[in-house]
């Protein structure tokens, strides 16, 4: 007869408790032993560290990033900005297609690759978004979502200055995209960084309206942005049909 399994001496070396301790250590090191304040959210165990980093980001954003993005919107005519967006979106669509395949969503991947073919071929290298005009929808997949679909937990929420809100899972996705992205293979240092700069400007300009909404609506901008980000990512991982959240 089989008896109940013997409780072994084996203990995972990096169990949840150890992990928690490690995280706490990193957090403590980064904020200089600041005591935890406020109720911690289960998705944001590193809140004290993140808040400090958000403070850095907010200062840089207010002083430099946001004004530059606003100047870009004010100075550069809309059709030109649209072309810039289209070119970067075309590259993103290609990666969306790859992630569609990785997630086994072949219909979506087909649409994305179709978009890239159409926009690159007939849209002059992605300058025109013909695919959207004929109604082929963008898949909007990325590596972070792929990891989510594969079952990787989201991990702690992170706020990285300049880059913005992310999680361990999404950050890993971002790193993969960064290394794989065509920009990485541009050898000319100056050109490469200019491209990163323009891509960033395009994204930051796109988010200007959202920033205004946050300024008005949020009681605590840090919490507001965190919750909006996590809700949005959850929605994307479930392709717009997230199961209802369980109440704690």
């Amino acid at each position: 007869m089989i008896t109940t399994p013997v409780r072994s001496h084996f203990r995972p070396r990096f169990g949840p408790r150890a992990r928690k301790r490690a995280c706490a250590l990193i957090a403590a090191a980064l904020v200089g032993g600041c005591a935890t304040t406020g109720p911690a959210s289960k998705d944001d165990p590193l809140e004290p560290m993140n808040r400090a980093l958000y403070g850095v980001h907010d200062a840089v954003d207010t002083a430099v990033l946001r004004p530059v993005a606003q100047a870009y919107v004010d100075v550069v005519p809309q059709p030109v900005r649209q072309v810039v967006s289209n070119v970067f979106n075309n590259i993103n669509d290609f990666f969306s297609g790859i992630n569609g395949v990785l997630q086994g969503k072949l219909d979506k991947a087909g649409d994305d690759f179709g978009r890239v073919l159409l926009n690159t071929g007939f849209g002059l290298g992605g300058i025109f978004d013909l695919a959207s005009m004929v109604g082929i929808e963008r898949g909007n997949e990325d590596f972070g979502q792929t990891f989510g679909v594969w079952g990787f937990p989201q991990g702690p929420y992170l706020f990285i200055p300049v880059i913005g809100p992310t999680t361990v899972r999404d950050g890993a996705g971002l790193a993969v995209r960064f290394v794989w992205g065509p920009n990485y293979y541009v050898n000319e240092e100056a050109v490469r960084w200019s491209l990163y700069g323009i891509a960033y400007l395009d994204l930051r300009a796109e988010a200007l309206e959202a920033s205004k909404v946050v300024d008005t609506a949020a009681l605590d901008r840090y919490t507001f942005i965190r919750n909006a980000y996590l809700q949005r990512r959850r929605y994307l991982v479930y392709d717009g049909k997230p199961p209802p959240e369980t109440e704690e």
């Binding site: 109720p39 205004k212 909404v213 009681l219 605590d220 909006a228 929605y235 994307l236 997230p242």
Partner: protein, 219 residues
């Protein structure tokens, strides 16, 4: 008078009467239609209100000139009667709602409502040439809660899905949550409201909301 003539005259008289009673018929028709209007379907409400607000915003010279106070007037008159702010606030407060007195509940609701109106009018101020697609509504006649799905298609940038959670009340269907690109407005406020209540009770929440509204009004 022959019998035929008599009938013809009677007909003419009746026609005349029905003609002059047209007003009465109209009123009668309205009375029959009124209950039907009160039970306007949730998706029809969203469509009607959105069209109404957009038409007004496009045609109002003060709004075109960027007058936010005028936008708020329009929202107050056309949009807000279709929201259930009490329900919205209760959901955003979660378990803290039950610990609040009716007076506190009312004050939080009023302040939250004012904040949402400010946010909304600010967002509408940058309204350009968006069009709204309405997804077909799936609902059973017995449903008391439905989600009306729409997609805002912009001239530039990706389309934004906006869903309206609607609940059936004695005054017709009312909206109690707006979900923009998967981000629920009510859920987004939950942590912030809870943090405030943890810090200084429901009164702290009321104070923070009201300070924020005063600050925005002074801008």
């Amino acid at each position: 008078m022959s019998r035929f003539e008599w009938i013809a005259q009677l007909r003419a008289a009746l026609r005349h009467a029905s003609h002059s009673f047209r007003g009465v018929w109209l009123i009668a028709a309205l009375l029959i239609a009124a209950p039907a209007l009160a039970q306007e379907a949730p998706d029809a409400i969203v469509k009607r209100v959105a069209n109404d607000v957009i038409t007004t915003i496009k045609s109002d010279p003060a709004i075109q000139a960027g007058n936010e106070a005028r936008i708020r007037e329009v929202l107050e008159a056309k949009l807000l009667p279709n929201f259930d702010f009490m329900r919205m606030t209760a959901l955003a407060m979660g378990k803290n709602w039950r610990t609040a007195t009716p007076e506190q509940q009312k004050r939080v609701t009023d302040e939250f409502r004012a904040l949402l109106v400010r946010t909304y009018s600010g967002a509408l101020n940058s309204y350009r040439n968006e069009t709204i697609d309405y997804k077909p509504l799936r609902m059973n006649p017995a449903d008391t809660e439905v989600t009306v799905r729409t997609v805002v298609v912009r001239a530039t940038g990706s389309p934004i899905p906006i869903d309206y959670s609607m609940t059936k009340t004695p005054d017709g269907w009312k909206c109690y949550d707006v979900i923009v690109g998967g981000v629920s407005l009510v859920t987004n406020y939950r942590d912030e409201f809870n943090d405030q209540v943890q810090k200084g009770g429901v009164d702290a929440l009321i104070k923070t909301l009201s300070d924020r509204n005063k600050g925005l009004a002074a801008k």
